[in-house]
Symmetry: C2
Subunit: 247 residues, 2 copies
């Protein structure tokens, strides 16, 4: 089971130790595109960080919405659980990506957000964001853009789930992961999956055995090397090819 505790970071985290302006994720994060002056003002919003240990929840579905979180380091999954206990993983999030925006509309988080490795997030209290956005057009615009892009991302997942076959889904996922790692300066072709086969299956609308079999098949076809959670992409073109083959 996942604990919902650890609201309070252990050591006193020195504020402003790493500011947005010198954060290596600034190109990917919410304040992206702000001028130096606006950036300086924005940094006062990011007044706290929070550490979440592997397996713990940053927030649970139904928790009161107070802040949006920017992933500073680590890896998260978000997931819904419906009345009958069925879990649906709705996304995986890494450095510079924002968590919790689904809570704005109702005042409660709709998803649970679970760390899949020891992680750290920047806390962006929504009340402050709202206030600054009203005074800072570039921030307002960027906030809207971030929300809108989340919608576009979700539509991509809908296309994946609604009209792709199993191997296309996994290929799409691997290529997407590769791109996001690249944007963060990591290897495009070699990485550790932080989620289980079950979690990945949930996200892709497949059973864990199917995911496992697909990894084995891709391996046999020389597209990737897999050893448990470690993946190395050997043939990006081959993976892309899978998507190009209609049915």
């Amino acid at each position: 089971m996942y604990a919902v505790t650890a609201i309070k970071p252990a050591a006193a985290p020195k504020k402003y130790e790493v500011t947005c302006s010198n954060c290596n994720l600034r190109e990917l994060c919410l304040p992206h595109g702000l001028c130096a002056e606006d950036m300086a003002r924005f940094e006062h919003v990011v007044y706290a960080r929070r550490r979440i240990k592997r397996g713990e929840a940053l927030f649970a579905a139904g928790d009161e919405f107070k802040a949006v979180y920017a992933v500073r380091s680590g890896f998260f999954k978000t997931s819904l659980t419906d009345g009958e206990g069925r879990e649906q993983v709705t996304g995986f999030f890494m450095g510079g990506e924002l968590l919790g925006m689904d809570g704005i509309g109702t005042g409660r988080y709709n998803n649970a957000s679970i760390a899949l490795e020891d992680s750290e997030v920047c806390v962006l209290p929504y009340a402050l964001i709202e206030k600054m956005a009203a005074e800072m057009p570039s921030l307002q615009r960027h906030l809207h853009a971030v929300l809108s892009r989340e919608i576009v991302r979700d539509h991509g997942v809908m296309m994946l789930l609604g009209s792709m076959r199993a191997e296309e889904r996994l290929a799409t996922f691997l290529l997407n992961l590769s791109k996001r790692f690249t944007a963060r300066g990591f290897s495009p072709s070699e990485f550790h999956l932080r989620m289980t086969r079950d979690e990945l299956g949930s996200y892709l609308g497949l059973k864990l055995e199917t995911v496992s079999r697909l990894f084995s098949r891709f391996h046999d076809d020389g597209l990737i090397e897999v050893q448990q959670k470690h993946v190395r992409i050997r043939d990006i073109a081959g993976l892309t090819q899978i998507l190009a083959m209609r049915h």
Copy 2:
């Protein structure tokens, strides 16, 4: 039968003829929750309407993003088309719902938006919305809420596509449609589907034959009456029951 049309007589569409404050959809639309004064200011943003005939596009994927649209009457689908010509319907929209928010992030609409019956929309130019939101906290908050709720809606679809069986998907869809019609003062149990089996299948991640078979099955089970596009729900509890049955 409960037509959504005929709200507007044939008269020339004079601007401000129907304002937000007296629009029968105001409880569902973007300006919802604004005070009288703010509402009056907001009405100046809604300076135009646009009629779209059945089968025509309000906008196409890739079109330059300039405005968000509120459905005043009629019915729309939104859909993506990927490189290989595969279509994925991402949503159906009726009175009071907003179209085009996925364009904010990139400056281009990501979806195409097609009228499934003769329809009318209010044009909300984004530049004006943005400006007013900065000056009007209640509007800003509501805009964020609307964007956020769109994300939540998409997550619901992801759960539907990722972890429900065919009959659960259709039952969920019918119940959702019923609720939305109810909120608009139409019959909760009797309505015309404006989309084809193919479009509905795309939305639900099923083939059109499967959708057709499910309608027939639901009919045989006494849950609904179907005759082509006309549907009458006979047993809401029975439909709900389908969702409660795991596996």
